[in-house]
Amino acid sequence: MKTVRNVVASAILAALVFVLLRFVAIPTPFPDTTLSIYAAVVAFFSVLFGPAVGFVGGFLGNLLVDLTAGWGVWWTWVVVTGLYGLFVGLGCKGIDLEDGNFGKKELVRYIIVCVVSCILCWGVLAPIGDILIYAEPANLVFIQGLFVGLSGMIASIVVGGILCKAYAASKAQKGSLTKED
């Protein structure tokens, strides 16, 4: 949270997560689950602005949703959304979208980071937190985690990938201009 830009980016990410979680419900073939598009936005912002913005924005956005949604604040899931941003941001460190640099190599790295982070966050951390803190039955929370994690993974790779590609394409590539003698 060092620069002004990070403060603003976190706030906008939180607002986007809020809107996407509350308003964009894309039905999937599984019952009672919707596609977690918000994971894609968290991933994209983490790549663009770094892990701190991903963490704070994801955390705040999910917290706001929980505060206004009526199911109470599920701290485990709120923190995990933030952690997802943190992990993706850390894993994609060095990918510089501002320089228009998002080729095949970066895309593969991005996808691997997303898959690993999704498994770690929704497959491991969220269910374990629920079992330890809320004493929920293990098989229930693991199935919930599986659904959210899987749809988050698909959304992150497809939508997040498109976002990174589109954003990088809109920027001038580093070294694309040469000085004329």
Binding site: S10, L35, Y134
Partner: protein, 274 residues
């Protein structure tokens, strides 16, 4: 769209400082989250109801939220039962069978107490969240976060997020209408792949537009020298009064009770079976 449902009203709860309310809320949520002490949860539920009454908010104002909460609570209770009808037996370590319904679906006293606890956890936290949201002005919330020790960059992010949610919703609705006018289908009729593609078409302009907005806001804030000092003052912050110390005491009291109970009892569960 009204986001946090702040309702302007004259009441003892409204006149409390946002920082003390936020502190009490955090302690409240954490203590009821940790404990499985049924009498404590019952007490917290009653206290929450009293606070709701004191805040002069009306149940009819929160109808949608309450309806949703009830559905969610019921669904969660049913899911817990279906997935593990003997979860209570595992947790309490004893087994007092009441009826055997069919196969693994049994009803035990332990399961009933466990599920009652889970429901109480909802009932004890929801009213207090409603009271907090209904009685605290969003911009005062950010000032209070800073006051209880959260870094001001973080608090300011929170305030900014609250400020920009209505804008984001508005542009989201615009984009969604535009895309629908272009014939983009997002309902069940389409295949999953097409739906993801449609979502991308909807989300893409929204997000790329927001990224542009970040630059504008950043420039505006930098021009006003945001973030150059270690501390900042808040226009919405208020001095502490007696009621605020009482509110903080309630929060500390609840947390202290839960922690001492856990230490003395050796577990988080209030267990009448042994």
């Amino acid at each position: 769209m009204k986001l946090l449902n702040y309702i302007e009203r004259k009441s003892p709860v409204h006149s409390l400082n946002g920082a003390s309310k936020l502190f009490c809320l955090l302690m409240w949520i954490c203590s009821t989250m940790i404990t499985f002490n049924t009498p404590f949860l019952l007490g917290a539920t009653i206290l929450g109801a009293v606070a709701f009454k004191l805040s002069r908010l009306k149940l009819s104002e929160q109808k949608g939220l309450l309806y949703f909460l009830l559905c969610f609570m019921l669904l969660n209770a049913i899911l817990i039962y279906i997935f593990n009808p003997e979860r209570g037996v595992e947790l309490y370590g004893t087994r007092n069978l009441i009826v055997q319904i069919w196969g693994r679906f049994t009803i035990t006293k332990e399961q009933l107490l466990y599920q009652f606890n889970v429901i109480l956890k909802y009932l004890s936290t929801i009213p207090i969240i409603l009271v907090f949201i209904g009685s605290t002005q969003p911009s005062e919330l950010a000032a209070s976060m800073n006051k209880i020790g959260i870094p001001y960059g973080f608090s300011y992010s929170f305030a900014l997020a609250l400020r920009y949610i209505p804008d984001t919703v508005a542009s989201f609705i615009d984009i969604s209408r535009c895309q629908q006018a272009r014939g983009i289908e997002m309902s069940n009729k389409e295949s999953l792949g097409k739906r993801i593609k449609a979502a991308a078409l909807l989300v893409l302009p929204l997000i790329l537009g927001s990224v542009e907005k970040i630059e504008v806001i950043t420039n505006a804030m930098e021009l006003r020298k945001f973030g150059t000092q270690k501390r900042r003052t808040w226009i919405m912050s208020r001095p502490f009064k007696t009621g605020d110390y009482l509110t903080i005491a309630i929060g500390i009291g609840m947390m202290a009770f839960v922690i001492t109970y856990n230490v003395i009892n050796g577990s988080r569960f209030w267990n009448p079976f042994t």
